[in-house]
Symmetry: C2
């Protein structure tokens, strides 16, 4: 089933909530979830229909069951291997964050063109020279790259990744990448996110 973007986003948040419950909290109501996220109760119930779980009247949703259903629907267990391209501050921070693995994102290695960085190991991930990306992507079957190079190097790095067989680029730079149609780009756009928050003065 095709789950709309905003629903995927909220389902992840519901999972965070379920993950934080104590072991003895067997049921949770849509009202409780709605109240924590300051959204409508009806929205929560509508979203949860996508994961095909039916809350029991007056009791609520079985927390373990609901967690499992969200994990299945969003593919947490279908692990995707990825490379971080750009071993600067943000790239290193993402490589050091172990939480991604629980949600199916497995960072295998990092790449940079700076010889002061190549050969170092960040949280168990070796930093290779960018010229090695093609060989390693094909050897390890990696299709996902997390792009965290400086803006001025972003297009060149992305071209290189496209040539290396990378199919998904999670773009943390503020460069809008011009790439062949078969390479999917997701612009993380933290600045847009901040502006949505502050300019529109709303919650998400």
């Amino acid at each position: 089933m095709n789950i709309p973007d905003k629903v995927v986003n909220r389902l992840t948040l519901y999972h965070f909530i379920l993950d934080d419950l104590r072991d003895d909290e067997e049921y949770i109501s849509s009202t409780k979830i709605a109240q924590l996220l300051k959204i409508d109760n009806s929205q929560v119930r509508k979203d949860l229909k996508y994961v095909d779980n039916q809350g029991k009247c007056r009791v609520g949703y079985n927390t373990k069951e609901l967690k499992k259903r969200i994990e299945e629907s969003l593919g947490f267990k279908k692990t995707k291997d990825a490379f971080v391209v750009g071993a600067g501050n943000l790239g290193s921070a993402l490589a050091k964050y172990d939480g991604f693995k629980d949600y199916g994102l497995n960072i295998l290695a990092m790449f940079d063109k700076d010889t002061k960085k190549t050969g170092t190991v960040i949280n168990g991930k070796e930093v290779f020279d960018i010229s090695k990306v093609s060989h390693l992507a094909s050897k390890l079957g990696v299709e996902v790259a997390i792009l965290t190079v400086p803006k001025e190097n972003a297009q060149a790095a992305a071209n290189y990744l496209a040539g290396a067989g990378i199919k998904y680029i999670w773009n943390f730079t503020t460069c809008v990448l011009d790439l062949p149609k078969d390479v999917k780009v997701w612009n993380e756009n933290l600045i847009g996110s901040f502006l949505q928050f502050i300019v529109s003065d709303k919650e998400k």
Copy 2:
């Protein structure tokens, strides 16, 4: 005018494109923008109506004028001062990123409870003990906090920030915060973002 979230996001991307043009590129067409972002031309034209700019037939939009209009509409010049709370990997990476300032986000200081971090200076931003946040927020009139503490400390830190008069929390943790109604929370939710990208296999 109230600009929808998705439009704010795309307008930021249009601004990134305009920002990357050479000085002699006086005009840009909606087709060119649409092609770079792999979206519909009609979408671009619709979005740009929010910033009240009219492209000239066959010539396109005046790039300098359009850039200025987007900046005004999204409030790039209305700088918001902010604190980073949590001087770990991600918090430090955000503090080291100077690009935010151009878009109106000015990080003044950082906070942590780790005495190994307090007193240090990261990219010109001093790391203070978290107990100082209330005094400094009121002294400097800061209402925005970027929350990058470990998940298990997130709720406690957020409670503390709410008590210190912080009105906006940009939450990078995977903890869903339970806070009074007058504190706005924006969950950055990078994991949800990744899942939207990979699970739905689409572009943004």
